[in-house]
Subunit: 339 residues, 2 copies
């Protein structure tokens, strides 16, 4: 069976991450996960003349590390699945123009990291592709000016607000044995509990994360203790306790194993308010720190729940509330027996 109950895919073959690649900006490089990234840029411009080009440099660099570590060239890859936060996902489009790999663009806001990984694993499992490259990116300067204010304003920010991670993550998905296995994926539904404050996306996204996590455990019959970690994408210090509380009210206690990439990637004294966000937030933590720990076997099983706020810059002006989604992927260390 490829599908377990309603929302969860279980892959029929062992599917592996052949390698990963990550690139981050200077603030992330000074955070607690420093050293787990392949490239840490000293300047926010990443050596480029425009922010849009800086974001492309991040994705380009993450992919080149990933392919080099996997010992593959672009011509060895069947499909490229990518997305980002820029209008019409142009970072991904421009990178796809360079690598010339058959391309499926995806959009799930900050959940795109696990949306692309889940879909890639499914494509490899079913034999429609042997090697799928997936990548996402975000850049603080491109995202903040697009969704909020021109960065030069230096306007005040709310304490509930998150800070877009500057970075990119890439991975190569294949059946060839590697150190980390993709075991299952739970595809999320769009949930909206009526939050209309684009400066409080952690609160807006928490119910979507709760829905996906709840359905993952309903579909699989497992409990949080079966995993070493349940890692949400970018709920931040504001949204994370709300998620825990929603699930506790339903009788599911994830508090012992729950962490959030948005609070893992920065220290509390960094100027990021509620924590990190953006497509790159879950991607650089998953493909950097978590991948390394799964590969060495110090983590056995991690459920990565990437969260996305599916708004655009007009949504608040239209007095609309914010639709949110979360996609979960179960990663296992290849050193362990399969679940």
């Amino acid at each position: 069976m490829s599908k377990i109950k309603k929302q969860t895919w279980r892959f029929n073959h062992p599917i592996y991450l052949a390698a990963t690649g990550t690139a981050v900006g200077p603030l992330e490089a000074r955070g607690p996960l420093s050293g787990s990234f392949d490239k840490e840029y000293e300047h926010l411009n990443c050596g480029e003349k425009t922010w849009a080009k800086s974001e492309r440099a991040l994705m380009r660099r993450a992919i080149s590390f990933c392919l080099a570590k996997a010992g593959k060239a672009e011509g060895d890859i069947d499909l490229f699945l990518a997305g980002d936060l820029m209008d019409q996902s142009v970072t991904s489009n421009f990178i796809a123009r360079e690598n010339r790999i058959p391309f499926l663009g995806m959009f799930g806001a900050c959940s795109t990291s696990m949306e692309t990984l889940a879909t890639s694993a499914q494509l490899v499992d079913s034999g429609f592709a042997d090697h799928v490259l997936c990548a996402v990116s975000s850049h603080n300067a491109t995202a903040e000016r697009q969704f909020r204010y021109p960065t030069e304003y230096g306007g005040p920010t709310k304490l509930t607000q998150t800070f877009t991670v500057t970075g990119a993550g890439a991975t190569l998905v294949t059946k060839e044995p590697g150190k980390v296995r993709v075991r299952e994926a739970t595809i999320g539904r769009v949930i909206d509990w009526g939050i209309d404050d684009a400066s409080n996306l952690g609160t807006a996204m928490a119910p979507a994360a709760a829905d996906t996590i709840w359905n993952h455990f309903q579909d699989t019959g497992r409990s949080p203790e079966d995993y070493d970690m349940i890692v949400t994408g970018d709920l931040s210090s504001v949204g994370s306790p709300i998620l825990d509380e929603i699930l506790l009210e339903k009788g599911l206690d994830i508090t012992n194993v729950h962490q959030d990439c948005g609070t893992m990637v920065y220290t509390p004294d960094q100027p990021v308010n509620a924590g990190g966000s953006g497509c790159a937030c879950s991607a650089v933590v998953t493909y950097g720190y978590l991948y390394n720990r799964l590969a060495e076997g110090s983590l056995r099983r991690v459920l990565v729940v990437a969260t996305g706020a599916l708004l655009n810059s007009s949504t608040p002006k239209e007095k609309e509330t914010i639709p949110c989604i979360a996609h979960a992927v179960l990663l296992e260390s290849a050193k362990e027996g399969q679940l």
Copy 2:
């Protein structure tokens, strides 16, 4: 084998369109394909107070016709794959918020129609979903103001410029026998021949369509005569002859069977300059007119090549050229033996 050579998927099981649904605006309703659409709105506002809501009404209506004709409810559907032209694909996000079906957002600009259909067929074929709903939309007023000028300007337009189709198309993909079969899909690469004029997207997209069509015939070993029609998405009267010429130079003559949705959907006397474009252009022609003809058996095999220009409103200001893509899906009448 699920994959034929480099870019083409051949589905292992018979995969069907259980039904389709289409909704269009007033200009499309007065075009030559009038009567092939399920809903033809008399006013561009589709009974809503904002253009953004009008576009949602189109997608909502197309989906409700599709599900009603298939005799399915939203709860019967495993996955919803959708995309549109609005920043961050918000039309699709808002519709996914209403239907609560597990959702994968996709972005391929106007190629999203066949990107979602190809991926849906692949998901059903491999058993990861039994019923996948896919939908795309575009609205003249939301697209023109976003990519070009506020529509109220009434500014002059170039003759090479296309006119965004107001409409939406939806289909339900399943293994349950229906009247039209999805046989193969060829996933496109991003191609950019250096066009930087956002008012001449037909010319920009022609090389991407040529690449996908060429690779489709390379992968399958067939020739254009094996198909009753090869229909491009929105190359328009400007891009279509360029496509034909590029392929003729490579020794492939599609001129006898090639038509373009952008010139099929309007009459030459309608004020649309080079023809129609937008995600809905290929979708309403394919899920309306072409579906009907395939279902009745008056067309046996049609290759739908949806074309997309992967730019955003900043791309021309950044002096960038326009990356383009095309995805092809082979549709067959169920009345005919399989190819």
